[in-house]
């Protein structure tokens, strides 16, 4: 058995039993990353990785290892990493060598995990296909002419192609779950506030949340335990104890109540995807769960509400990228205004510019009430729908994406890209936790099942996903040529 065929949990056992060293493990994955043609990485940190692996080996030898000691990972390039380029997939941050670590980076360093490099992503996390990266599109390992999903496309492709045992991702409107679904891996977006946002380059601050991207739910439980927790440097971080997510993985699903929103199975959903999702839900019935149709009447308004709220927040957040203190600055600015305008115009890509302009417009005098305030009120209605449904059921299930991965370059206009986010956006607007787990193959491409829980129920979601993965082997399927 080669290292890349093992799960994080299995690698952890091997390291702890001293069957192999972190240096051996890390060297193996570095070689895979260097030989890969998926464009999943923006920066490969091979030298640093070997230094970290050596340190991990000495810690393992001293008997002080913890959950992720010596385990390699790909870190989404949105997390600040001290001394390492942190571009967020944007030209404007291409020169940015972070002078500090994000809390997530710090926690991974403290556990002595080994960073293989920084994963490619849609520019500043805006996109659903990873086609908006300054560093070029990432290819889906299941079919290199297709997108891996986005914005955490590099993170998802790297796990699917077994270039890394796990990745980090962030999810503002589906950016962990949708690429996880399109690449056939496990992805978890935790409850808003569960993982610190400190040092995670902000896109839309009331929606952004970091989480693990892995082969299995068991692995996601291990990673989440390490990265979650209160952080006083993030004013929206929740002061709540982090449970041991591994402990409840084996709980029974007997009596679990699953809600199936009828709005998630209406027009626009691809037949092949629909069938796989319905088959997966049947599997849960055989595990003792009951299934019931529910309704989220405001579901379709998630797209318009999100595409006002997120651009408003981003237009404000991205005003800090101005060519003065860090990042890209244009050549020979003639005055201060020229410096701002040209640095930003040359530094940002088209999609980022569109969202900044929509946000500036929706927040401007005379339009604020009609757009931004209206969207915030609609957000409340969307969120209330979930709370009504959670009075009757424990979790909600449905598709993550209405289709399988599409061809690179096939979606030209912005709105057709936005429509593919229909099932994921409402979860961020409400701040709920949700997962995507592999649930089948349609047209030779993976399909992900969406499992949405109420606030702070990550433990239950991981348990549900793990039980499904004991029963099925969809999460063990790999793209052709990857084994």
């Amino acid at each position: 058995m080669e290292f890349h065929e093992l799960t994080l949990k299995e690698l952890q056992k091997g390291l702890s039993n001293k069957e192999f060293s972190s240096v051996e493990l890390t060297s193996h994955f570095i070689k895979r990353v260097q030989n890969s043609e998926l464009n999943a990485f923006i920066t490969i940190t091979d030298d640093l990785a070997l230094v970290q692996a050596k340190k991990a080996d000495s810690i393992i030898a001293s008997g002080k290892m913890n959950d992720l000691t010596g385990i390699p990972y790909a870190h989404k390039d949105i997390f600040c990493t001290l001394g390492v380029k942190t571009s967020a997939g944007s030209k404007i941050l291409d020169p940015f060598i972070s002078p500090y670590d994000a809390t997530v980076s710090e926690k991974l360093n403290d556990s002595n995990a080994v960073m293989l490099g920084k994963a490619n992503m849609d520019e500043l996390a805006m996109g659903s296909g990873n086609e908006n990266s300054f560093y070029g599109p990432v290819k889906n390992p299941w079919n290199i002419s297709k997108v891996p999903g986005g914005s955490s496309g590099g993170s998802a492709a790297a796990v699917a192609a077994k270039l890394t045992p796990f990745s980090t991702g962030t999810d503002t409107g589906g950016s962990i779950r949708q690429p996880a679904s399109l690449c056939g891996i496990t992805g978890l977006k935790p409850t808003y506030g569960r993982v610190s946002r400190y040092g995670m380059i902000a896109y839309a601050s009331s929606l952004d949340q970091a989480g693990p991207m892995t082969q299995t739910a068991e692995d996601a439980a291990i990673v989440l335990k390490t990265i979650a927790g209160f952080d006083e440097r993030d004013s929206t971080s929740a002061d709540k104890t982090v449970p041991d997510y591994e402990k409840s993985l084996n709980n029974s699903l007997e009596g679990l109540k699953i809600g199936i929103p009828k709005e998630y199975f209406s027009e626009g959903l691809d037949d092949g995807v629909k069938q796989k999702i319905l088959d997966a839900i049947k599997e849960f019935e055989s595990l003792g769960a009951t299934v019931k149709e529910v309704s989220l009447p405001h579901a379709k308004f998630a797209i318009p509400a999100y595409y006002i709220i997120a651009p408003c927040e981003c237009s404000s957040n991205l005003s800090r990228l101005d060519g003065v203190r860090y990042g890209y600055r244009c050549e020979s600015p003639k005055d201060l205004s020229d410096l701002y305008i040209r640095s930003r115009s040359e530094g940002f890509g088209d999609e980022v510019k569109r969202r900044i302009m929509i946000g500036s417009f929706a927040l401007s005098a005379g339009y604020y009430d009609a757009y931004y305030l209206k969207a915030l009120k609609s957000r409340r209605l969307i969120s209330n729908d979930f709370q009504e449904v959670f009075k009757e059921v424990d979790v909600i299930m449905g598709p993550v994406s209405p289709t399988i991965a599409w061809d690179i370059g096939s979606k030209k206009d912005p709105v057709s890209n936005y429509l593919s986010d229909i099932y994921t956006l409402s979860v961020n607007l409400a701040g709920l936790p949700a997962m995507s787990i592999p649930a089948g193959i349609s047209d030779n491409m993976p399909v992900g099942l969406h499992i949405i829980g109420n606030y702070w129920t990550e433990e239950r979601l991981l348990n549900i996903a793990h039980q499904f993965q004991i029963q099925t082997d969809w999460h063990k399927k790999s793209p052709k040529g990857i084994d």
């Binding site: 060598i97 002078p99 506030g193 929206t236 101005d322 201060l336 569109r354 936005y418």
Partner: protein, 95 residues
Amino acid sequence: MSLDNKEVSQIAYLSRLQVEESSLESITADLNNILNLVEQLSELDTDSVEPMAHPIKMTQRLREDVVTETDQSESFQSIAPKTGKFHYLVPTVIE
């Protein structure tokens, strides 16, 4: 609501972005498509709904008013495009 080229140029300026004359037409069309999409919200009656700016009910924490950050000006300035001693350099603002 539909924006014309002139309004789009003004929004771009407010966003400190430059729109090339040659792409103004297509950017205006893109923005109008997005505005058409978000227009759907007008179907909703939200008169008595409280706006939701943040997903989790929480109040801002208070802490002791003490200095917690150390001086890192040197490391922060080392990554800036142009600096002088303890300041960032930009083109002259006042002659």
